[in-house]
């Protein structure tokens, strides 16, 4: 792999971005309700036991595992929010399981990076993240 990988021509795959992320769920209607009503993401369409959402131009595909090998928790997705305290409060009000209160995870050069972890209806760990400009 390394011999060809050093050729710059080999690396220009033309990847423009992430078009879709698959999230394994055990109950598609329950997960659809969570992503639509609790997280407030727009439903694009449903197809059988698949439900597709939009999150800022990236499509989320919720559906059951199509093979036992794929039946594992999702990657942690970090959702951007403008106001993490307000968003955290709203999740608490909606009965969402929070892992720990919002915390400053890294002071960057021009902003503080805040995060709070929570569980979706399928027990996947997700995070809210917010970049708070430093005065």
């Amino acid at each position: 792999m390394s011999a060809t990988a050093t050729n710059p021509g080999m690396t220009s795959l033309g990847i423009s971005g992430i078009g879709q992320i698959s999230i394994i769920v055990h109950d598609t209607p329950r997960a659809t309700a969570f992503y639509r009503d609790v997280l407030g993401l727009p439903v694009l369409f449903t197809a059988g036991n698949l439900a597709f959402f939009d999150c800022g131009g990236v499509r989320l595909m919720l559906g059951p595992a199509s093979a036992p090998e794929l039946d594992h928790p999702s990657s942690i997705l970090y959702f951007r929010v403008p106001d993490i305290e307000a968003a955290h409060l709203r999740l608490v009000e909606m009965g969402v399981r929070i892992e720990a209160p919002p915390r400053l995870i890294a002071p960057m050069q021009t902003y503080d990076l805040w995060m709070v972890g929570f569980r979706d209806s399928e027990d996947n760990i997700m995070q809210l993240m917010s970049e708070v400009p430093r005065a």
Binding site: T11, I15, I18, G19, G56, V58, Y78, D83, A87
Partner: protein
């Protein structure tokens, strides 16, 4: 539902990808996929993919030690990208194929493994002649 101001989930800022060997995975995402490496912080390695940050990381707890979600990378020419990736040593599960016929385009996909055994995909929307 009408989310209160400030609570809207605007977009995905970052995705965590489990790696068992962060150096090996960094080489794969940089040299094989050709993504832009942002920075390294200890056992964490960060990439940019069209404005979304990918964080390669060793699982901190046994609970997190599972394969990544399938990420579908958008490419312009899926056949060319498939060939290049294959030539670069990526292991493919299949050949590029039409997975769904949408009203205005055909959705093509092909699945492959990264250096850590995570299942990933290339996707491409090929416009259909009117």
């Amino acid at each position: 539902m009408n989310p209160q101001e400030g609570t809207t989930l605007s977009r995905i800022g970052q995705i965590a990808i489990n790696a068992h060997d962060v150096d090996r995975a960094t080489a794969f995402y940089r040299d094989v996929l050709g993504l832009q490496h942002l920075f390294r912080a200890g056992q964490l390695s960060f990439f940019d993919c069209g404005g979304v940050r990918l964080m390669l990381d060793k699982a901190e707890k046994p609970e997190f030690d599972h394969p990544s979600s399938i990420l579908y990378f958008q490419v312009g020419d899926i056949r060319a990208a498939h060939k290049r990736l294959k030539d670069a040593g990526a292991k493919f599960e299949d050949e590029p194929h039409v997975i769904a016929q949408m009203p205005k385009y055909d959705l093509w996909m092909t699945f492959f493994r990264d250096s850590e055994g995570n299942l990933l995909a290339l996707m491409s929307e090929a416009p259909r002649p009117a």
